[in-house]
């Protein structure tokens, strides 16, 4: 059975095709006064009428498979058509490599369609490890057009976990980050690899070099939020280690020296301070340099950081104010060092 591309589809209406002569199409049961009624083309209406006929009769035949191809070309978002197609593919034991080509062509034109990616995952799962490199390569093609495609990243992560192919993944993340250091999806993938890859030894083993990687990225572009969140993430659930790693406080200080109002640096400093970090005199001085309001000098350093953030980051002023109000309580609990 041929699987025609949409532009090669014969113009013959299904009702005129001899192989469909025995089937009575079933019109959509929209009622006498439908709402959100779509002005379907004749081709769409007829294709769906025949689809309903085979679907409701549960006819898992080659012609039904062909019909799903046509229906999907007309609307790739119809999950019922896709699900029925999977039942047919299973029943007919169709060669699924061909299916990958079909999905591949569609995915390139509908990169944000849930059904296509779900179907692709289903096919790849059936093909098993034979599909690994092809699937990784396929997502790379998608990323060359849209490096942040959410579905493609989910698919890639699924491939790695279900089928393998971890070996070059960290290098791939690095390549994407070299192209665009602001690509948060690539940072997220890096975190995924570092924490999940069976060939790297896990977060504990990788933390040291990853901190260095993040620090380098921060120093290059301090306004880039991604490496700041990544750095914080490397110490997720281990905040005391974050506080104790001298490189963290140091990168904040380095950034604040050159870019005194860097919100991300101040956000990190705040995180350090509320978790018991003992600030150096230099850090304190650099915060003080930002305290234009002399009324602040009597408050603790953590409060002063919040006050600075209220001023330099006005869109989040309420948030910083709320953070500051929490600090006061901590201060009364004796956690906060007097400034």
């Amino acid at each position: 059975m041929d699987r025609e591309a949409p532009d090669q589809r014969p113009p013959i209406p299904i009702s005129k095709r001899t192989e469909w002569a025995d089937v009575t199409p079933i019109p959509q049961d929209d009622g006498p006064n439908p709402v959100v009624a779509i002005a379907y083309t004749d081709e769409f209406r007829e294709t769906m009428d025949y689809f309903r006929a085979v679907y409701l009769a549960d006819e898992r035949s080659p012609r039904a498979l062909q019909l799903t191809t046509e229906a999907i070309h007309l609307n790739a978002g119809n999950y019922t058509v896709w699900q029925f197609r999977r039942l047919i593919l299973d029943t007919l034991c169709v060669d699924l490599h061909e299916e990958l080509d079909f999905v591949g062509l569609l995915a390139r034109d509908n990169t944000k369609n849930y059904q296509i990616w779900h179907h692709r995952r289903w096919v790849a799962e059936k093909l098993g490890t034979n599909a690994t490199s092809n699937e990784l390569q396929f997502t790379e093609e998608i990323f060359s057009e849209d490096a942040k495609n959410y579905h493609a990243w989910s698919h890639r992560q699924w491939v790695l976990q279900a089928l393998g192919g971890w070996e070059d993944e960290l290098a791939y993340c690095d390549k994407l980050l070299q192209e665009d250091i602001f690509n948060n999806s690539a940072w997220n993938q890096r975190y995924f690899v570092v924490t999940k890859s069976p060939v790297l030894g896990g977060l504990e083993a990788m933390r040291d070099s990853e901190v260095a990687y993040a620090v380098k990225a921060i120093l290059a572009k301090p306004e880039n939020e991604s490496p700041w969140r990544y750095l914080r993430g490397l110490y997720k659930d281990e905040v005391q280690s974050l506080v104790k790693d001298p490189r963290v406080a140091s990168v904040c200080l380095d950034v604040l020296m050159n870019k005194r109002d860097c919100v991300h640096a101040l956000n990190m400093v705040l995180d350090l301070l509320i978790n018991g970090y003992q600030p150096s005199k230099t850090l304190e001085n650099s915060i003080d340099a930002l305290c234009l309001d002399s009324g602040l000098s009597n408050s603790g350093l953590t409060e002063r950081v919040c006050s600075v953030l209220q001023v330099v980051d006005p869109i989040r002023a309420n948030y910083w104010k709320w953070r500051k109000s929490g600090v006061t309580v901590e201060g009364s609990n004796g956690k906060e060092l007097a400034g």
Partner: protein, 457 residues
């Protein structure tokens, strides 16, 4: 902008482009006289209603790609009309109920159109549409017993739900199932089992929630995950301080929200992210507890004296709190109910109802006035709303821009009974839209009617 002179990465170039378009709009706005500014900020109510009503009846062939999402089209349009404080006429209302009944599967749940398989997302959309229409005929058209069976069939071993038979498992599916079950009063322990584990596994190192474990933190999924965790009484399992820090950073220089770190602003996140901020605002006791800030209320009261006049509604609330300590107990009780309490399944169905009761002590965590600027000046069109300047309007963005506008306008009110002050509504006060229930995103009055109906029946 000076930055346009240097070569940036793809992310930077895209960002600068959008930024310059948005700033151009704000510049123009600033340069016109104040009385004209007021006119430009006006919500084009009549034009929006016209656009919405037209679509509810008939859509062009370009909507064929949404042929498996027709209950969504109903919800986006009906909810938008309700937000605009209007309603459809009796005939159209009956036609909507009839049509949605044709999408209801005999074995439970709603599909994307007649004779399509039932799907969790279109079920959510259909049920929210019927609640928005309201009335006995509409609400009684939902087969809740069969719907519960459908939900149970969609439960996955992972704890999550799958969207449809043979469909994908993700946080959206969890939310649409839990939200619908909650609003229809059919949520029970069996349905809730392990859902919290699944959602928890989707919270990322950034603080937000992803669609699947390992994926990137995302506004839509963060709303879905947070709302579902609240509805199943397990919200304290999430790292709320991290989630809060992540979400407040999603509002950018364009004044609107982005969906993910270093992505472009989009009007629809006015609701997804703004809604998350609104939910956190009501969770502040849990957040404070996680941050080790148990005495925060006291503290906020003592330090709030420097609030300017626009915040008077908050000050009022706090005075009220100071004068009547019983409110604290009320809030604390609510907090108690916020703890996992799976031994009382009947209570589970009241979580959504109790969540919006009581006073809000926390100021909005985002800039609600700035966001209204983005929605009204950058997203609003002559009928309908769009993602950003340069894009065209659609019903999805119309629904979520208006929902976001509602979240903004009511974000400073001290309780659900109080109307916003004029200062909280950007533009003429007639811009005020209806208040939504932030967990289900249906207009609050319609929610109350449905809550009463499904508690009785």
């Amino acid at each position: 902008m000076a930055t346009e002179m240097e070569r940036g990465t793809k992310t930077q170039e895209d960002q600068w482009m959008v930024q310059s378009q948005v700033f151009q709009i704000y510049d123009l706005f600033r340069r016109i006289p104040p009385n004209s500014q007021f006119a430009i900020l006006e919500l084009q109510r009549d034009k929006h209603i016209e656009y919405l009503t037209k679509g509810l009846k008939q859509l062009s062939r370009s909507f064929t790609v949404l042929d498996a999402n027709r209950p969504w089209l109903c919800y986006w349009i009906l909810h938008s009309i309700a937000l605009l404080r209007d309603s459809v006429d009796d005939k159209l209302e009956n036609d909507c109920i009839d049509f949605l009944s044709r999408c209801q599967d005999s074995k439970g749940g709603y599909g994307g159109g007649p004779d399509q398989m039932p799907h969790l997302a279109t079920t959510y959309a259909a049920v929210n549409s019927l609640i928005t229409l309201g009335g006995h005929r509409s609400l009684s058209s939902i087969n809740r017993r069969k719907l519960y069976e459908f939900f149970m069939r969609m439960k996955d071993r992972s704890g999550g739900f799958r969207m449809h038979e043979g469909g994908e498992v993700d946080v959206r599916a969890c939310y649409t199932a839990i939200s619908t079950a909650s609003v229809l009063n059919i949520l029970d322990d069996e349905l809730i089992q392990n859902v919290g584990d699944y959602i928890l596994s989707c919270q990322t190192y950034e603080g937000g929630i992803a669609g699947e474990p390992g994926s990137e933190a995302h506004g839509g999924y963060t709303f879905c995950g947070l709302a579902a965790m609240i509805l199943i009484n397990e919200v304290n399992r999430l790292d709320l301080p991290a989630l809060t820090n992540w979400v407040v950073f999603r509002q950018g220089v364009e004044c609107g929200f982005q969906g993910r770190t270093n992505k472009l602003v989009d009007g629809c996140y006015s609701f997804w992210q703004g809604g998350v901020a609104a939910l956190i605002q009501r969770l502040h006791l849990t957040v404070n507890e996680q941050m080790g800030q148990s005495n925060i209320l006291e503290c906020e009261c003592s330090t709030d004296s420097d609030y300017d006049s626009t915040n008077s509604v908050i000050s009022e609330g706090e005075q009220c709190y100071e004068g009547t300590p019983s409110h604290v107990n009320e809030t604390c009780q609510l907090q108690e109910e916020g703890q996992p309490n799976t031994s009382h399944p009947a209570d589970g169905n009241n979580v959504g109802y109790n969540f919006i009761k009581g006073h809000v002590y926390m100021r909005p965590l985002f800039d609600n006035i700035a966001l209204q600027h983005y929605i009204l000046l950058c997203s609003q069109e002559e009928g309908g709303f769009r993602d950003k300047p340069g894009k065209t309007r659609d019903y999805y963005h119309t629904c979520y821009c208006l929902s976001g506008l509602s979240v903004c306008q009511y974000s400073c009110t001290k309780d659900v009974e109080s109307p916003p002050l004029p200062g909280d509504v950007l533009g003429p006060y007639s811009n005020l839209v209806e208040r939504v229930h932030p967990l289900y995103n249906v207009v609050l009055d319609r929610y109350y009617e449905a809550h009463e109906f499904f508690t009785r029946s």
